[in-house]
């Protein structure tokens, strides 16, 4: 049997396995649905989803265990384009995409679309500039390419540092997501949830490296896409009457626009918003002289109580007593309450139309908002195209041609989720505008009552004007609510909520798998094998990688347990930093003249300006220098990338051109197949 037939036999076998698997998974969900009807408790449904899916991933991991170098690092380079596309999809879509994306769009409207565009459009850059050439180069890691192309350990080290930094920041966010989902749906403690999830990640990636991770990620993609689409299709059919809501929700968006106008004109809404304005103003006034205001406020309430007692009205006495009991115990507590009140000013603003881009009172403010929108799109795109755990996946296809096709499938599978998220946001908004707004506090929709009780951080409804009716201004929503509560909003049984949790878990685990492997490989392959001990045996390298994997996972879990603050900023920062690795990768292929010193100074300059801009502008660091062009620090890559390109250009031209061998390497990667090639790409 020659290679071509064995490859297609392998492919058809894979198709059979995964079709069987997807059918089995759907059967499993149906069985649980029946069990729910027969009275299985919610907690048990949660456990079943958690342990069955993690057990499944571990099973795939055990079946694909390996100690062979090319199997461990690049899955034997025989992953067909279609399956590599699914694996990349799962690798790419994180807990943030799965759970957070629709919420960001719900809250931000048009502005949230910057993330959607950035996280998909980046794949065009991967396809046009990187995937085929990296595949032809055909080694194991991204620093491998930088080192071989530019020569020397300095370039490799910068590559390793940048790969590890951005992957580590990103993996912390994933493990956080794992802990959140397991604890929410099973009632396990956050810390326990983190370690259960971590166990699943480790069994899989440690035993089988890239090979196990690839086949697990395919399985995880299938679960996450079923979990994401099911409730949206259901909700969409309910509101649009068409089972492909992604196409039909334009008319729902129009209705949302009309409802927004109605809400903004509603006198009751205006009343609530005026309460916010007044309380914010009162809070601000009180804060000017806290001690005096505290005493005055207390005296006023005490006088009220005396008056009520004098009038002998029992209800008045009770309410006056209650008001006095609710008064802050001391000045410090009162100050905190007033500060909270000043924050209400933000809620006094009218609803901004969902589809309206670039908010701002003046033309200038709107243009700054537009620049920031474009900044985010830009940084997310170039960051995507330089993230090592994604680029690594294109080393695993059997050929250059399959690598190109595989980027197509990758984006197609990612697209399925990303073009659904904006639809979900609009449908959820429509449902809330029609069913939640205007309902009475005594009979809230069932899902709203349940979530408001479970987690006030996700849903908080307070009757500020005391009319017993819900006004939109009285509702505060946390972004994660949208995806988590959609099954209940759509009126689906609890088993679908369990399915969504399993999907979120799959998204977080698959991304964590890929990231941990990238970090461990950068350390074991690039740092140890290539720089410290080039004579290390293959067994030693693979074993070292496995040990490092446990160590890195443990460290990441520890950092996660400290619950570091602003995760969205960290993720944004990781992308901006990753973007600085993009110019040397691309110029290495497209410009023969680019040389070692150009690459070193270019990467260093790009990274330096990114870090400088973030540190001096991001409020966390407390320096807060004025912004350049009003561009927020998350988009620091807007400066880093062009500077990197220019620096590489100038420095390369000022120093000697690269050697003949390097120029031949560039020619080698530019053509999928040249005579005499086979020896080079197969021998390693």
């Amino acid at each position: 049997m020659n290679q071509a037939t064995s490859h297609s036999a392998f492919k058809s076998q894979l198709k059979k396995y995964y079709t069987f698997y997807a059918g089995g998974f759907i059967g499993f969900v149906i069985l649980l649905a029946i069990a729910e009807q027969m009275g299985m408790s919610k907690q048990w449904i949660g456990y079943w989803f958690l342990f069955a899916t993690i057990g499944l991933y571990a099973g795939i991991g055990i079946m694909s265990r390996t100690s062979e170098v090319s199997e461990y690092y690049v899955a034997g380079r025989r992953v067909p384009a279609f399956f590599n596309g699914m694996a990349t999809g799962a690798d790419w879509m994180s807990a943030a995409s799965f759970i957070g994306m629709a919420g960001t769009l719900f809250l931000g409207g048009f502005d949230g679309l910057a993330w959607v565009m950035g996280w998909t459009g980046g794949y065009c850059l991967v396809a046009l500039f990187l995937a085929p050439y990296l595949r032809k180069f055909g080694q194991f890691t991204i620093p491998d390419f930088l080192a071989e192309r530019y020569g020397g350990n300095i370039v490799r080290s910068i590559g390793v540092v940048s790969a590890i930094t951005c992957s580590f920041v990103y993996v912390v966010a994933q493990i956080y997501g794992v802990g959140l989902i397991t604890s929410r749906f099973t009632g396990l403690e956050f810390g326990v949830g983190v370690f259960v999830g971590l166990g699943g990640i480790l069994v899989c990636s440690m035993l089988g490296g890239m090979k196990a991770v690839t086949w697990t990620q395919v399985a995880q993609y299938i679960i996450l896409i079923i979990a994401y689409l099911t409730p949206v299709v259901w909700l969409g059919t309910k509101h649009t009457g068409i089972p492909i809501p992604q196409i039909a929700y334009g008319y729902t968006l129009q209705k949302v626009g009309d409802l927004e106008k109605k809400i903004n004109a509603d006198p009751k809404e205006l009343e609530v918003r005026k309460i916010f304005t007044d309380r914010a103003a009162a809070g601000k006034a009180a804060l000017a002289d806290p001690d005096k205001s505290y005493a005055a406020g207390k005296t006023k309430l005490e006088e009220g109580l005396t008056a009520a007692k004098a009038s002998n009205n029992a209800t008045q006495v009770a309410s006056a007593e209650k008001a006095l009991a609710g008064y802050p115990k001391d000045v410090a507590a009162a100050k905190a309450a007033w500060t909270r009140d000043t924050g209400l000013a933000g809620r006094a603003a009218p609803v901004r139309p969902h589809a309206q881009p670039f908010p701002g009172a003046t033309e200038a403010a709107q243009n700054t908002a537009r620049l920031n929108f474009i900044g985010i799109v830009f940084c997310m795109m170039f960051g995507t195209a330089a993230l090592p755990h994604i680029l690594m996946r294109y080393y695993t296809t059997p050929s250059v041609q399959e690598a190109r096709v595989s980027v197509f499938w990758s984006l197609f599978f990612i697209f399925l989720l990303y073009f659904t998220a904006p639809c979900l946001a609009v449908l959820a908004k429509f449902d809330m505008y029609t069913n939640l707004v205007g309902s009475s506090f005594a009979s809230l929709p069932a899902w709203a009552a349940a979530w408001a009780k479970v987690d006030p951080g996700l849903l908080n409804i307070t009757d500020f004007n005391g009319d017993g009716i819900v006004q939109w201004a009285e509702v505060v929503i946390g972004g994660d609510l949208i995806v988590l509560a959609t099954p209940e909003i759509a009126g689906l049984p609890y088993v679908v909520s369990g399915l969504v949790a399993a999907g979120g878990l799959a998204a977080a685990l698959s991304t964590a798998d890929g990231l941990l492997l990238t970090i461990a490989n950068a350390l074991s392959h690039d740092l140890y094998y290539k720089m410290i001990d080039p004579s290390a045996s293959t067994t030693k390298r693979v074993t070292l990688s496995k040990v490092l994997l446990i160590f890195v996972a443990g460290t990441a879990a520890y950092v996660t347990s400290l619950k570091p603050g602003d995760i969205l900023f960290l993720v944004g920062a990781a992308f901006s930093l990753a973007a600085s690795a993009f110019p040397p990768l691309v110029m290495g292929v497209f410009w023969k003249r680019a040389n070692k010193w150009g690459a070193i100074t270019g990467m260093a300059a790009g990274l330096a300006i990114c870090v400088y801009y973030m540190v001096t502008r991001y409020p966390f660091f407390g320096i807060n220098m004025p912004l350049w062009f009003g561009l927020s620090p998350v988009s620091a890559g807007m400066f880093g990338l062009p500077l990197g390109v220019v620096t590489i250009g100038i420095v390369s031209l000022l120093t000697a051109p690269p050697s003949k061998e390097v120029q031949e390497l560039v020619e080698h990667v530019r053509y999928p197949h040249l005579k005499g090639d086979a020896v080079v790409s197969e021998a390693r």
Partner: protein, 88 residues
């Protein structure tokens, strides 16, 4: 190995198609976003066009860009004899 005239032609054609697709990418991303307010004046299937492009239209075009590139390059590989054959 020494590259022939034919090889250079292949690379040149690759650069041209890359450039064209990159231009399309640039237009549906940055030009579209820049004029989103103006585009929103046009309605498309009930959507304001600017919103529709950012939420779905541009995304679909990205998928098509990559598909076209993969298809065209496979053809070009065969035409110029630099394809990998059926061996792998």
């Amino acid at each position: 190995m020494q590259l022939t005239q034919k090889h250079n032609e292949y690379w040149h054609k690759n650069l041209v198609v890359t450039g064209i697709l990159l231009l399309v990418w640039f237009i549906v991303t940055f030009v579209e976003a820049w004029f989103a307010r103006e585009l929103n004046g046009i309605t498309f299937f009930g959507f304001p066009l600017g919103f529709y492009m950012s939420a779905q239209g541009s995304l679909a075009i990205y998928v098509i860009i990559i598909g076209v590139y993969a298809w065209y390059m496979t053809k070009l590989d065969k035409e110029y004899g630099v394809d990998e054959g059926d061996l792998e």
